[in-house]
């Protein structure tokens, strides 16, 4: 209700402004580009380097699932040469924004070419795929296919009773950025798009891409080592919403959550009961709160089971710059370290 009302209001504003404001020719200088949320913005900055000026719509610690765009967002999108979205129906509000802002630049969907996770109704996922050392191509691999080989599209969602459309989004788990190998694909897609609209600087983009690929590969092996150190019976993580499917798939952990794929979902008593039983049965020592959303339900679960709050995980946004998760690489390291510390064998 409020969404439609406020959206109509700013749609009218933009319409009026577009009649009045003179169109601006593209100035020389960095390309204005827009990313929908902070993680994408970071990747875009790394690949684009000094040739791009990045505007991020959903800032640090923001919740993209339920974001409502503002008129200044419409202005930013309107003037952008490139718009980077996650895809997999993560940003339910982006299509309307693009329409209203009359965006006519290049649109990049970060998850193009990725094999998405389809949350399954009765998936019971016990032997998770381990992230073996398949060849990490350091920058020449543009195809999503090589990634698809090592994984199949089994669902990582262990909620036996959850219907596929309960989470209010589409049929896919959108949180692909929790797997560094997939973020390499994100970077590939962006580099391609940037090279296309700005061929003069294409070689710079490729170089930045190669450097980023190298860093991602290092990150990947670090995380793998940390997760491999966790004992078998402690590879279960309880957090607020189902954001870690891809991380679990990549590194052999299981993630459980009372809410579904979106922070918008409301938990049922069944969800909470199932989780509490699981925690009790397996003697899980810790649950993890998220940087976005509401921690009260997790606090309740922790209280009842005696589990501790193992720390804060960053699921859908970076922290403020300089914080524990100011860049994507920092964010992933922080999450892995937090998990390792709380669930590791020396607890």
């Amino acid at each position: 209700m409020t969404t439609r009302r406020s959206f109509l209001a700013f749609a009218l504003t933009v319409a009026v402004l577009s009649l009045v404001a003179p169109s601006t020719a593209r100035p020389d200088g960095p390309l204005p580009v827009v990313a929908t949320f902070s993680i994408l913005g970071d990747v875009l900055e790394r690949v684009g380097g000094e040739h791009v000026a990045v505007t991020t719509l959903v800032g640090p610690n923001g919740d993209t699932h339920v974001y409502e765009p503002t008129p200044s967002d419409a202005r930013a999108v309107r003037g952008a040469a490139l718009l980077m979205t996650n895809g997999l129906e993560f940003e339910g509000w982006i299509d309307r924004l693009v329409d209203v802002a009359e965006f006519d630049g290049e649109r990049v969907v970060a998850t193009d070419g990725i094999e998405p996770i389809v949350p399954n109704e009765d998936a019971h996922h016990d032997g998770e795929e381990n992230h073996d050392g398949d060849a990490h191509d350091d920058g020449e691999n543009r195809d999503g296919d090589a990634h698809a080989e090592g994984r199949d599209a089994t669902a990582a969602d262990e909620h036996t009773e959850r219907a596929g459309d309960e989470h209010g989004h589409g049929a896919f788990d959108p949180h692909a950025w929790h797997d560094p190998e997939l973020v390499a694909v994100y970077a590939d897609n962006v580099a391609d798009a940037l090279a296309e609209i700005d061929p003069d600087n294409a070689s710079d983009y490729r170089n930045n891409l190669a450097a980023y690929h190298a860093e991602l590969a290092v990150l990947d092996s670090e995380i793998e080592a940390m997760m491999a150190a966790l004992p078998e019976n402690r590879r279960i993580v309880v957090t607020s919403h189902d954001a870690f499917g891809y991380f679990g798939r990549a590194y052999g952990l299981t993630f459980e959550a009372p809410r579904g794929l979106s922070t918008e979902d409301e938990a049922s008593a069944t969800d909470v009961a199932v989780l509490i039983r699981q925690i009790r049965e397996r003697n899980l020592p810790a649950v993890f709160i998220e940087s976005i959303g509401d921690r009260r339900l997790l606090d309740q679960i922790a209280r009842e089971t005696g589990a501790v709050i193992g720390g804060t995980l960053y699921t859908g946004a970076l922290s403020e710059p300089g914080g524990p998760a100011g860049t994507y690489l920092d964010m992933m390291r922080h999450n892995a370290t937090t998990l390792r510390r709380a669930l590791g064998p020396n607890q």
């Binding site: 919740d63 922070t263 049922s268 009961a273 509490i276 509401d294």
Partner: protein, 289 residues
């Protein structure tokens, strides 16, 4: 069998027990207020007041984070301001109570959204403000119980003037100075119960548990004592059934409780002896014969 279905969930899980206690507390506090709202033909006021309170709670959150105290105080201040202003305008101009309340709650809501947006917080505040009955901590439970006690005591103290104000407000105003106290005290109770209901159920549910049981009780009894008793009983029953439905059928808890109350309303409407559809049809036939 029945034990497993009905009692077992509460034995096994602390969060279910707390949720039930929260539901009972709200039933004791909000539902009697709802009965009076209904009698004064102010049922929709509840919904309007819920919107008026939201910005106050949002500002409280901005100032002090997810603090029960800040959001409660903020909600109270916003709600009482809107209530007082609209009450004042109603008494002093020829605006109806509904119009002035609508005007002020809309202004309050818009102000709240404005304040929240310009502070630049990207977190969906409305989402954070919606509590869930499954996540009641000690502080929230204590708040609900305090509000329930306050409501019951206040209603008992103001019972006669309240009843008279429902029936004939002009008369009350002419014979007693308690009219203003009663009116605003009652509005304060509405605001208080809605604020408490937020933390437990979220806005929609808080209003739902106020109005639906009262509306249903109307079809069973006539006298006001009976109305309050039956309404509270229905509210508690709805809390219990809603929680069990949520538990056994994987439904979100808040809507399940309100829909349980709605179901009772539907049944009451159909077969309730005091003015229900069936009883009306039957009495028609009798008259004809």
């Amino acid at each position: 069998m029945i034990w497993n279905a009905v009692v077992q969930p509460f034995v096994e899980f602390g969060f279910m027990r707390r949720a039930l206690l929260g539901g009972v507390a709200i039933s004791l506090g909000a539902t009697p207020v709802g009965v009076f709202l209904m009698l004064r033909r102010m049922s929709l006021t509840g919904d309007a007041m819920a919107h008026a309170i939201l910005p106050g709670a949002a500002v409280g959150y901005l100032v002090a984070g997810l603090s029960l105290g800040a959001m409660t105080v903020g909600g109270l201040v916003a709600g009482m301001t809107v209530a007082l202003l609209s009450g004042f305008v109603t008494r002093v101009t020829r605006s109806g109570e509904d119009t002035s309340l609508a005007a002020f709650y809309l202004i309050s809501l818009a102000l709240g959204v404005l304040i929240v947006s310009t502070r630049g917080s990207n977190v969906d505040l409305m989402h954070v403000l919606f509590g869930t009955v499954l996540a009641l901590d000690d502080a929230a439970l204590a708040l609900l119980c305090v509000i329930a006690s306050l409501s019951l005591v206040t209603l008992a103290l103001l019972f006669r003037p309240l009843v008279l104000e429902c029936a004939d407000p002009e008369f009350l105003r002419s014979v007693s100075g308690l009219s203003a106290v009663t009116h605003f005290g009652f509005l304060a109770l509405i605001v208080l119960n809605l604020v408490g209901g937020f933390h437990a159920l979220g806005t929609l549910m808080a209003v739902g548990i106020m109005i639906l049981p009262a509306a249903a009780a109307r079809f069973w009894v006539e006298g006001i004592g009976g109305l309050v008793t039956v309404a509270v009983a229905i509210a508690m029953l709805a809390s219990l059934c809603g929680l069990l439905l949520s538990y056994h059928f994987d439904l979100p808890s808040g809507p399940a409780i309100i829909l349980a109350a709605g179901f009772v309303y539907g049944v009451s409407l159909s077969i309730g002896p005091a003015g229900g559809l069936l009883s009306q049809a039957l009495s028609h036939r009798r008259l004809e014969a």
